[in-house]
């Protein structure tokens, strides 16, 4: 016996409690959906000619004002980057997405990929800063929006990676001084919230350097994010190092390899391959966490969205703007999380090795 009726009987109405739950959920879903459609489509205002937001105020509460998105999307996406030059951050966003897509391809997981990353990140830096190849120079305090979010997350993970490998190796080293330094670093960073590190970056970093050497605010936040990501990544990589059997270490010793050659040729290539799914999860967490730079006044995507609705004419339409920004964050994170899940499944199937017990971080 098959067909939709028997499916429904088995999966929705198998018992009285189950039927009650199904009916209640269906009722709430349908009601919520109708309410949302009414608000977001039927009663919505899509544009306000001449920027007069009175039409929007008239429907406030019963209909969405999407006009705010039409009026502000360039600001939300690119912040205060000079208007005529905004094709440059747009190209950067495209380059970032291409870089992610390229790195997701397992056939391309080779040493050359590092060179591709260096080249693309260099090109992005050149495009954003300008001052070369006839591009006008744009100072960092004009950068904003989505490119800043992508820069903070991607440069954060890329530059944290080599530090994290060294710290993870240091944490498993048999030299006590090195091991304790690494443990102290990891536990200190993981024990405090990211926002306190960002405060350090914004108010204490300037005190660290001699008079006259002023680091840019964005650069300081980037350093804090790198140091933060490195501690979490180091724990992920340590999981990979621990998952290898002792036989791998002993075999490398038996071949007479020194420490660095043992690590570079035998241990790390296997360990890093193991940790790619949790590494993607760390990147997702970092991608979301970059939004915290809002609190120290850096113009990332969320910060630009929050600023866009400060203007009196558009005040009160935060929900619409936040929904749009949420869908951008969701698109990136959902794609990466799906990728990480499928990769995990494939690595499990091909290697028959135990999963590394590192859940996604909040």
């Amino acid at each position: 016996m098959s067909g939709p009726l028997s499916w429904a009987r088995a999966n929705l109405f198998s018992s009285w409690p189950s039927t009650a739950v199904s009916l209640l959920l269906a009722y709430l879903l349908v009601r919520g959906l109708f309410g949302f459609v009414d608000w977001a489509i039927v009663n919505a205002v899509w544009s306000v000619p001449g920027g007069d937001t009175e039409v929007c105020r008239a429907v406030a509460g019963s209909g969405a004002c999407w006009a705010v998105v039409g009026a502000k999307y360039r600001f939300i996406l690119f912040g205060t980057y000079p208007y005529d030059e905004q094709w440059r951050p747009a190209v950067c966003v495209a380059l970032f997405i291409a870089l992610y897509a390229l790195s997701a391809n397992r056939a391309l997981w080779r040493r050359e990929l590092v060179l591709v990353w260096l080249a693309v990140l260099g090109a992005i830096g050149g495009l954003m800063w300008g001052g070369i190849l006839g591009l006008t120079a744009v100072p960092q305090d004009r950068w904003g929006g989505l490119p800043v979010t992508l820069i903070l997350a991607t440069f954060g993970i890329a530059l944290a990676f080599p530090i994290a490998v060294l710290v993870a190796l240091g944490r498993r080293s048999n030299m006590p001084a090195i091991r304790w330094l690494c443990i102290a670093y990891i536990e200190l960073v993981r024990g405090v919230p990211l926002i306190s590190l960002l405060f350090v970056a914004s108010v204490i970093f300037p005190l660290f350097f001699p008079e006259g050497l002023d680091l840019d605010k964005l650069l300081r936040a980037q350093i804090a994010i790198i140091l933060f990501a490195a501690a979490y990544l180091a724990e992920v990589i340590r999981g990979g190092l621990q998952s290898l059997s002792d036989g791998q270490y002993e075999a490398a010793d038996a071949l007479g390899l020194g420490y660095w050659r043992k690590m570079a040729l035998v241990i790390l290539p296997q360990a890093l391959r193991q940790v790619i799914p949790p590494l993607v999860n760390t990147f997702i967490a970092l991608f979301k966490d970059t939004s915290l730079v809002l609190i120290i006044g850096i113009f990332d995507l969320l910060s630009a969205a929050k600023t866009a609705i400060v203007e009196p004419a558009w005040q009160g339409f935060g929900i619409e703007v936040y929904l749009v920004v949420a869908s951008i964050y969701f698109a990136f994170c959902f794609a990466m999380s799906r990728y990480s899940q499928s990769l995990e499944g494939r690595l499990l199937r091909t290697q028959h090795q135990s999963r590394i017990p590192l859940p996604r971080r909040g």
């Binding site: 739950v21 405090v192 919230p193 204490i204 005190l207 915290l292 809002l294 996604r360």
Partner: protein
């Protein structure tokens, strides 16, 4: 791993970079002195910069008058109090939202984790979508969203009333409270006594069941001792009850308990966000119990609720507790985002303090020390729990 050198007879004292032991010492000395040198350089620069700006270091500012207003505080506070007390209130506010958040997130997360494994297709799908959507959005965005949503709610005059007596408006969530009466103390004492007696009887019933195999239900006695007895006492004392229901007077409400929009948005955001992660942990924990355990329990004729409560969850706990601990730590650290929506936790008050006094290093050191001690306490408690409760009888 032991090297052969350890057992070599009459080792010569070698001072050569080819000697493993010497090289290890040399490397450590070099690394530690490098770290110390960088640290010394930064500290020296900092001291010079502070000197140039005329900022005196030290914690003397804690005794000065704060003059900063605090909207909600669990202990008495006036702006004329000192910075030390203001910061203490910040710590208490952080602990308050973290403690309530941890309890609620655990309950909600466990429910959603079990719901994801439900045989009911609709329930399982809705839970899965909830988990995926909530995990893929930045927490700060969610907090701002909920806070904005609360702000555009109607004012007290048009307040929503989801349940009679409970009002939701742009002033926050308002619900009725009970006025405390001395008779309530006796009733509460009776309930506590009942709980203690029930636990004692449950121990006895368990032990007796192990001896003769007869199941002695605990719930009739539990009902009698914890519900019927206090209710009887309440009736005997003449049903004293006075409920303070919020009523609209002019432009605002009077009476009831008010949950501020800041606290409500922060708690709601933290709980719904962390619950999504806890749900995944609970689900993985339940899946880690082998299907044979389910089958054996079903073969014994146990109902699903008992199987989950007595067989599966106790075993799943061993997988669940370690990652759950890190979620509790995350929730506590994430409560620092309060500063973005104006709930006055330790970060928010320390931030105001350092802006007013210029004591940046001290302010941030206080924030970090508070979170490090909270993290350490939760880790210690959970490892105690892990050893003494979760693994009992194994």
């Amino acid at each position: 791993m032991k090297s052969n050198d350890d057992h070599a007879p009459r080792r010569r004292l070698t001072v050569s970079l080819n000697d493993r032991a010497f090289r290890a010492i040399a490397i450590q000395v070099v690394v530690v002195s490098l770290v110390a040198a960088v640290g010394w350089y930064l500290v020296a620069n900092t001291l010079r910069n502070l000197d140039l700006r005329g900022i005196a270091t030290g914690f003397a500012f804690l005794g000065r008058e704060a003059g900063l207003p605090i909207a909600e505080s669990p202990i008495a506070y006036a702006p004329t109090d000192d910075y030390g007390r203001a910061l203490l209130i910040g710590v208490l506010n952080t602990l308050k939202v973290a403690a309530i958040g941890i309890v609620l997130a655990t309950v909600l997360g466990t429910a959603i984790g079990i719901a994801r494994l439900s045989k009911n297709w609709l329930l399982a799908r809705v839970s899965a979508i909830y988990v995926e959507v909530v995990r893929d959005l930045p927490l700060l965005l969610q907090l701002l969203f909920w806070y904005t949503l609360l702000q555009i709610l109607p004012g007290p005059r048009g307040a929503l009333q989801p349940v009679p007596g409970v009002y939701l408006s742009n002033r926050g969530l308002l619900f009725p409270s009970m006025v405390w009466d001395r008779a309530h103390l006796a009733i509460l004492g009776l309930a506590v006594l009942g709980l203690t007696l029930t636990i004692v009887y449950r121990r006895f019933a368990r032990a007796a069941q192990l001896r003769d195999g007869r199941h002695r239900p605990v719930w009739p006695l539990a009902c009698l001792l914890m519900v019927a007895a206090p209710a009887g006492a309440w009736a005997a004392l003449g049903l004293p009850v006075e409920i303070d229901v919020p009523v609209l007077k002019g432009f605002n409400f009077r009476g009831g308990v008010l949950v501020s929009p800041e606290f409500f948005a922060l708690l709601f955001g933290l709980v719904t966000y962390t619950a999504a992660f806890i749900a995944e942990i609970v689900r993985a924990g339940i899946l880690s119990v082998s299907p044979g355990q389910w089958e054996a329990a079903r073969a014994l004729g146990l109902p699903t609720g008992l199987i989950l409560g007595r067989i599966v969850l106790p075993q799943a706990l061993r997988v669940i507790v370690p990652p759950l601990t890190s979620q509790y730590l995350n929730l506590t650290k994430n409560s620092s985002l309060a500063v973005a929506i104006g709930y006055q936790d330790i970060v928010s008050i320390a931030n105001t303090t350092l802006n007013q006094t210029g004591q940046a290093i001290e302010g941030i050191a206080i924030i970090m020390a508070v979170y490090l001690s909270i993290s350490l306490s939760i880790s210690l408690f959970m490892s105690w729990f892990d050893h003494h409760v979760a693994l009992k009888g194994r």
